[in-house]
């Protein structure tokens, strides 16, 4: 089985987060980058399918600046067979332009599954996967939390608001993978050494027209939070009064 996994390099904003001087991007000072969380699950799903089937090829693709190769190398060290780096100065916010750049890399390559993470942790758009599927004319299931494949079909489950949806689809297909489906493995030390010898093809990304762009980036408005109503159960009547009369939510 031939599987593609499309992954994204995102800044790790857990430790450090500041808006850049251009007011439209984040301050790169001291910033570390990593694979977007959900993409790790997508890689794990691909690797497990390959292991279950005892063969095949898993290819990782990523679009972005030079540093993108580090996350591709990480994917290779987890066990991905080869990687494609679509070079771009920056990753556009416009998901459709990214999907358009991915299409020629995915079309006619014989991929039976094309996997994405459910969403990237930086933009949080959750769009590139289903858009790519639509452009490729392929069936697509998003936010897959459970997956079973038989001959030429798959059964996926999606955990939606309050319900679990079971979806049947034919292969080849595009899936976006939710977390929790299969804990991503850590790259082993041998895997890290082996990844040095695996190929990364580098090509310029053919980004389409950009219609969606970031105009400004700002910190969320400071909440006037931190109001301590009181201590202990004695404060409850005052809290209820405020919820009713001031906040008007009761």
């Amino acid at each position: 089985m031939k599987i593609a996994v499309c992954i994204k390099r995102v800044p790790d904003t857990e430790v450090r987060f500041a808006i850049g001087t251009d007011r439209k991007s984040i301050d790169p000072t001291g910033l570390k980058f990593d694979l977007s969380d959900f993409d790790g699950y997508a890689i794990e799903v691909a690797l497990r399918l390959k292991e279950q089937q005892g063969g095949g090829e898993v290819v990782a693709l990523s679009l972005g600046p030079d540093g993108t190769q580090e996350i591709l190398r990480k994917a290779l060290s987890m066990g991905i067979d080869r990687a494609v780096h679509l070079q771009a100065d920056a990753i556009p916010f416009d998901a459709l332009s990214i999907a358009r750049a991915l299409v020629p890399e995915l079309e006619g390559q014989g991929f039976e599954l094309i996997l994405f993470g459910r969403n990237a942790t930086d933009t949080g758009n959750a769009c590139v996967g289903p858009m790519t599927a639509e452009l490729l004319g392929m069936p697509c299931v998003t936010a897959v939390s459970h997956l079973e494949l038989s001959e030429a079909r798959g059964i996926a489950q999606r955990e939606l608001e309050g319900v679990t949806e079971t979806v049947s689809f034919p292969l080849p297909a595009v899936l976006t993978i939710d977390e929790g489906i299969a804990r991503p493995r850590l790259p082993s030390l041998k895997g890290i050494m082996a990844a040095k010898k695996k190929p990364i093809d580098v090509r310029p990304a053919q980004l389409g027209e950009i219609r969606l762009s970031v105009q400004t980036l700002e910190l969320p408005p400071e909440r006037a939070g931190g109001r301590i109503v009181g201590e202990g159960p004695e404060a409850v009547p005052e809290l209820v009064r405020l919820l009713r009369d001031e906040a008007k939510v009761l």
Partner: protein, 392 residues
Amino acid sequence: MAFSGVDFYQLDTLLSEEERAVRDTVRAWVDDQLMPLIADCYIEGRFPKELIPGLAELGVLGANLPEEYGCAGLNNVAYGLIMQELERGDSGIRSFASVQGALVMYPIHAFGSDQQKTHWLPRLAAGKEIGCFGLTEPDYGSNPGGMITTAKETRDGWALNGTKMWITNGSQASVAVIWAKTGALDDVSSIRGFIVPTSSKGYSAKDQKGKLSLRASDTSEIHLDNVQLPRDALLPKSGGIKSPLSCLTQARYGIAWGAIGAAMACYEEAVGYAKTRVMFAKPIGATQIQQVRLAEMLTEITKAQCLTLQLGRLKDAKTMTPQQVSLAKRNNVTIACDIAREARRLLGANGILVEYHSMRHLANLESVYTYEGTHDMHSLILGEEITGLSAY
């Protein structure tokens, strides 16, 4: 929150991509696998042996030995970073990996026959066999050459007699590398290494009870009561006290890195606490006394990082001397002890709880200060290096 390390001087830029990748993968492993367990293990006084398969699968055991024996074939900087990350979790788990890699796999690789290497190394790398290292004796710690454990040649092989003390992994090991004199007790050159399956008749190990340090580590006393070994139990290329001491240089190299890990853990905990703990209506981090504490910690960590990274580069260039390792071990463990103690104090009363890590590290580091050459012995080794005169 995940551990993010300390890198004030951008030393990351001096690491290769795979060195960083190795560090990050072990760091993540420690966060995922060790941190949730360590407090309970420490209180229960138990080594988390359920983690051994995971450690082996990751490739941590003997990671700087060649791939042909099932090892990862990493350079020594990457190996050092592994030790750093493991000890960021707990000195006990780093001790386990040090013993398996530097004190069991290393001597088999350095002094063993081809057959011994191909038999033992892949099994040890895979964690299928657990090793321990028997050198120290009840009355011979800093002076291992004085050992009184003997190996007498028999018709079929060897007979070992003696007692070994402070043996990490002693009770859980399936195989021990035991050092014994094959000649007269005053003949240091007759010291040889032996591979001893712990299932051998006459071999026994008992846990050292009552430890207040390294509680998540298995420490034992080993008795060898006329243990009969085949001829090929001998490590053929071992000879003299130099052989076990060279193993200790390997392990000590890892300790120099490990101590930085423990220090970083304590520093990070102290910084987090100082920024969030409010006393007298402001975070304690806004007080001068805590800022001085934190500045000292960061300074010492940064100095230790610089010297240890260079030590690693020297080791990879094969020009590292044992005295350079002594300096690093001596310095790094001392500063780690100091940082752990200051962090614990900064944490106030909370600092005595196992939920926080600094006091556990502090207690552990007292052992690390003492083992693999005490702090004082390394002072004397450096003194001898400086003056050319031995004071011990």
